[in-house]
Amino acid sequence: MATPEKVSHWIEAFGQKITDNKAYLNELDTAIGDGDHGSNLTRGAAAIKEKMLETEYDNLSDLFKDVGMTLVSKVGGASGPLYGTAFIEMAKTAKNSQDINELLQAGLDGIQKRGKAEAGEKTMVDEWIPVIEAVKSGSLSNELIAESLQKTKDMKATKGRASYLGERSIGHIDPGAQSSAYLFETMLEAGVLDE
């Protein structure tokens, strides 16, 4: 069950992982985008850390909402509105549910509403869809997260900044899928899926 305590650990670990891998995310984004994915998300992670230090959360919805609003405000690139909308939608769902399936599905629906991306377009959605399917069937593992990520390498981008490269986007891991992989790896680590 997703409790405020577990989710706090999750968000903290996600921010740390993003920050530790800032250069790598920028490198992935330099190949097929504008090179700032790591820097942008790291800025967001720092702001979230600050916000969480000054706030005591007794419910999940407020926590997700603060994370989402902070990302929207502080991250300059596309990842701000996309991750921001995901967390804001999760906050709405968290008012009635602590079920991680429902929460993640609400997040994905938010991302797709905002970014209009479908499966197979080489975006973060290509990480979220298989992960949510696995969570629903109780089979999420680090291997599945890594395999889904690798699959974005052979895709041709038809959404987002990489789509301007057309065929040349093939052969590179999608940076948004990579940061999403970090999100789900840290979700497993924080025990959000445990009973």
């Binding site: 700032d36 942008n40 929207v72 405000s73 300059g76 701000g80 509105p81 905002r114 970014g115 987002g160």
Partner: protein
């Protein structure tokens, strides 16, 4: 003379927005044109807060909004959702679309006619 419609330009770079506003000002001196370019720190990117603040400063209730690239559109859409203004977002070629709208607003052409003129300039989704 005040008009009922204003134009908002959202871009990843402050100078791009300001430069386009300068260009539009040449043909539309009486039309309110506001910009939200770059991030809060004037880096490359777009800012939800900056766009919301720009929307708030319009006296006009109807805003025609133009943007450069996809993430600008996403932040613009989020700002639209939390604004009281009546905002129309155009997926047109950025310079040509905004220029067309500004020229027509200046000559008091109605929004229906402007929309018709902008339709073939649509290049984004």
């Amino acid at each position: 003379m005040s008009r009922s419609h204003g134009i908002l330009l959202v871009t990843h770079v402050e100078e791009v927005a300001d430069g386009l506003a300068k260009l539009l000002g040449q043909v539309a001196g009486d039309v309110t044109i506001k910009t939200a370019g770059g991030t809060e720190d004037s880096d490359v990117g777009t800012s939800f807060d900056k766009i919301s603040a720009a929307l708030d400063t319009f006296e006009e209730d109807n805003i025609l909004a133009f943007y450069d690239l996809g993430s600008a559109k996403m932040n613009l859409e989020m700002a639209m959702e939390s604004s009281d203004k009546d905002i129309t977002l155009y997926d047109t070629a950025f310079v040509e679309g905004a220029y067309t709208a500004a020229s027509l607003l200046q000559t008091d052409v109605g929004v229906d006619m402007i929309n018709e003129q902008l339709e073939p300039l649509k290049v984004k989704e």
